[in-house]
Symmetry: D2
Subunit: 378 residues, 4 copies
């Protein structure tokens, strides 16, 4: 008989958007109980937030180290089993590492670390730990993304020869043209956001979607970034040419100044026998193209869908589930792994994806800096 | 400081789709804690289900009467505050009435009752009780439905003159052509489903959407039902001509044999100054038409949206929320009412909607039976 | 070896929209040469227009009677073979009749006549004449409309049980709210427009589309019109409940005050094995729905299309053809008939469609006037 | 009073798709009369085709040189005024040049020439001739493409900072995987098709669309082609990074192996104040994005459209015009220029576009061959 997994939360307090996304997602399938947290660097804020969402405050810790220390004192069957890391980016690595080192499972927001080096260190820690590590590339939880993956694996497209992914947002357009604004937003400050803005924040989702759906690995890339003002040269836009094995080529386009675009993640995958097209803002419609047959529109919840896809759908066809449900599907997969149940490798992204993602981000920066040359990924 | 409302659940156990919809919705905004339930007529099944979703079993009661009896013994600050009624239709009325009579708030699935007479009795009980009664016309929780309501109220369309709503599903097509199947499905058995199949189950949602968005009341109707086989004359399809005040006319179309349609609720509202179009399966896109200006597409989460709409959106634009979020918005509204907080009347449908809905359903049946004549609604 | 058919044109001069539609359509497939015309009641205007479009003026006649008289004097191999009637509605009948009586083929705009009585008289004249009569229900020329017809005929939907057609325009909304405007537009003046505005002008296209695609005949109807001001009671909006054989029911919705709608003709046809949906404003996309398979999107020019559909497509898939091409397809079909070549009955609507259409219009008016009662069609 | 322009046609006979597109387009606005032609290298085929489309055969010439020779003997007011060049690519240059040199206006299919060198020679000939030269980049004739151009010119997007264009077709996927087929199709044979398949045939349309709509010139590019088999290294797919002045960057994607794509030309243009999106397969819908306002959908024929856009629309909103109408708009613009009437520079692409297009194609090949390096355009 399944029992709720004891979940700890790091970050995500107050009006945090990532906080509500994770919190709701963790509750949707009756798998997790929030038993401990450090919602905020300010202890009182953490406690206040615990009151607000009405959870017990006895395990709302002053800070992360205290959480580890105190939880380790508890008997194993009371102790937090998994922590969800939703803090600012630079804390992902130290927290995730310490959690793994101390025998906690980890659910971690992306980017997994600040750089590729950290990612490899974390991978080692993970391997030694034997614990579950789930990276919340949210979009892989959509039933139709899973359907693509499974159909491609089953050969629906034949050999793939072309991939085209895009992640276009426009929100930085509202900031970038004002000198004061662009110099004060953390996302455009390399000391806070890391080496990349656009590619690190959203391009990497497109990268992950390409690899998740096709099952192929990107071998090398050539990247050109763009910035709009000399006084702020963080990438707010970029295009990445990609190469995989066997003449498979493609392009990943990413922008934060695609004016008026909201959350425009999309992918098109072309193969010898057919193609797929999917867009995040209409997540429940998957288009299958063919040279000779009418285009087909797949939707969730149908008997024709794969098991992996169906495991991410709670209601019959025509009842739109959204991004909270997508994230919930990742939490559901992690729950299965934590409990040691059988699960499909498509149920959640893991350490490997995180390491390769950091390799991708660093390579785009390197390619751009070296004058748009080809860089091999590991 | 808000505290979680103590929620009791009636029905909705096992694989119940309505069960998961309500359960998740109740958890999404951190407002409710499930403290008691009768998930199933079989006590053991109820207990097993409580284990499955990992909630305490001490207040999982043998039956509804026991729930009332035992809860009333508890001190008020421990007692269930609100019950969510998700049982088969014929139990809605007796349960809701007894709950109100005993001082519980009620969240109730539709159809509210089996007939108009019961509805009026329930309305009296509600009035006497002074308690909150929320009717879960789920679709009114969508941010873009709320946006329509608020913009219409603010005069965006000017005087309305035409309304066209539709609720098309196809699932009964997979049943109706097989004599055995069609004679065994409860939905087509008048002793179990009540006087109407199509209009009672889904047509009434379209009716409610018309009144919710326009703020107008339907005054009279003329209805023609259809059935496909003489041996089963339950309506599986029907069209309703509607009249409101001042030359406002419209049509409500509803079908359960609209082959291949999934959950095709849609509405178009035409007024002197503009029009709206919206479809449930693409809930985050609201189309505003004009004679002279380019069509506009409203989406959730933008500053241009009304407060009521924004209160139903948790994430920034482009992050699709769906039907669980819509239902959660209704639970959120009910929570505000239960706590005595201020809320917008558009946050949840209430007793009035339920009474008028039952009046609508009975009138469609009466119109059809009398040979498609006009019937006035109260 | 084909030779161009000698075409006469009645009406359609100056800025006439119907004029350019017919003129271009007649030229698209190299089948017709305009040899004579009465473009306008004013002879000089006709001559000026002939100059403008640069055709010889020697057979630009003073009036219609003169055209008949003079053309009959010409040897048969010089004489106009077919006249295209594009005049105001009240002239369709006398012109078409005299043309048929004098041995000319006729291509005629709709409405075919002013009333059902005239329609029947014209049908007699047509039968006696042995000539070709093509009624330009333009929308039947679209490749995807033809595809629906052929696939339905071939059983793709199985037995049909529900039809839902719509023709929504908004242009009268820009007129109706101004007393002076609404009293001066010819379309709302029964002495000029005939007994019906909305149903006669556009509802009848939806009616025709239902019968053209399904191959079924409407047996009876119940209609409710709407008008917005007491001082002008012409129908600007209406809904028609329809019945066909064997429990097939449906609805035709039509409006000229559907604010912001442009030319919103659409149809949905539901059958035991599947369904079709099509919209005039996206004419090259035909949606085939199924209970169990992914929705399919048919497009023109593919090998999977029927011969009738392909005969209406000139370019490969993805090169959008439009309404001029649709009308041209009707002219192409008429050309085949005029030349005595083999053609598919779906290539152009004919007298039968016109007669039944007038029967439909009159019946909608009768049903409305009698208080929304069922009226049988002949 | 306008008189029809005397048009000669080179190529385009038989089942030629380009032939019917040009022929119909030339007839749509009553501006041209076909008076002479060399439809085919075989004289008898030319004559037969003239019979088929029923035009006089006395000026159907044996070959191109004869056409020039004989037409020059005719008095100027009988002589062909303009020739439309629709022959295989390698003939565009010699024919266009000789036509210009002999005082004929020219309407020419793209690619204008086989290489950049020829293009520059032709530009000289054109300048000396003083004649009209129209290059049929068909897609610039769509009303909504023209609307983009005019609104951008008027500042609707503010400063542009990002452009993303795509031209995806899939038809070569049906050929490329069969060794015999891929070695026999002319498009993949560099001796017949020139130095590029994908970029030369369709990528250049996307290039032209970028420059036509933005009014900006591409200054440099970096290109990566793809081919699928070692035995045929013609580009069937490619991505081009582009740079314009002032930090404007973009990407042009083009493919002939985008399986199942039909004629997928599309563009997105992002500027400081807004953005546009448009797709060729839904040509009558233009999307205007904004950071703060609802997305707007522009359609043809409205008073809100620019004069240039409206000049390309013949019918009221909602009556879809298509690619024949788009090409007809280019012929209409050329007619105005030929007659010496006033016209908007957006009414047809001209020599400059052709020269820059050839520069673009050669540069993509050069960039790819040199290992994906940046190449400056002239």
């Amino acid at each position: 008989m399944p029992k709720k997994i004891r979940l700890g939360i790091l970050g995500g307090g107050g009006d945090s958007l990532i906080g509500i996304l994770h919190r709701v997602a963790s509750q949707i399938n009756d798998n997790y109980e929030i038993v401990g947290a450090v919602f905020s660097p300010e202890h009182q804020e953490s406690i206040d937030f615990a009151h607000e969402i009405d959870i017990p405050t006895n395990r709302i810790y002053k800070d992360f180290d205290m959480l580890i220390e105190e939880e380790l004192k508890l008997p194993e069957d009371k102790r937090i089993q998994v922590c969800s890391v939703q803090t600012p980016n630079f804390l992902h690595f130290p927290m995730a590492k310490k959690l793994l080192d101390n025998g906690f499972h980890v659910i971690c927001e992306k980017p997994m670390t600040m750089n590729y080096e950290e990612a490899k260190v974390l991978a080692d820690a993970h391997e030694k730990s034997g614990k579950v590590f789930a990276l919340t590339h949210t979009y892989t939880g959509y039933p139709m993304v899973r359907q693509m993956r499974e159909m491609i694996k089953a050969g629906a497209l034949g050999k793939i020869h072309k991939v085209d992914a895009r992640y276009y947002q426009g929100w930085i357009n509202t900031i970038i043209h004002d000198k004061e604004k662009r110099s004060s937003v953390w996302r455009l400050d390399p000391t806070k956001a890391g080496i990349s803005s656009c590619m690190g924040d959203i391009g990497v989702h497109a990268f992950n979607l390409v690899e998740f759906t096709t099952g192929l690995k990107i071998k090398s890339l050539l990247c050109d970034f763009n910035y709009l003002y000399e006084d702020n040269q963080m990438d707010v836009d970029g295009t990445v040419l990609i190469r995989m094995d066997n003449h498979v080529k493609g392009v990943i386009r990413s922008s934060q100044v695609a004016t008026g675009e909201e959350n425009g993640l999309a992918i098109a995958i072309y193969g010898e026998k057919g193609a797929f097209r999917w867009e995040q803002e209409r997540p429940n419609f998957l288009y299958k193209l063919s040279d000779t047959e009418p285009l087909q529109v797949y939707k969730p919840g149908h008997a024709y869908n794969s098991e992996l896809s169906l495991s991410g759908t709670k209601l019959p066809p025509g009842h739109p589930e959204g991004i909270f449900d997508s994230m919930a599907n990742i939490y559901l997969g992690a729950a299965k792994a934590i409990r040691g149940e059988k699960y499909n490798s498509g149920e959640f992204p893991t350490m490997k994806d995180g390491v390769h993602g950091m390799n991708f981000i660093e390579s785009t920066v390197a390619s751009h800096k070296k004058g748009n040359v080809w860089i091999d990924l590991d």
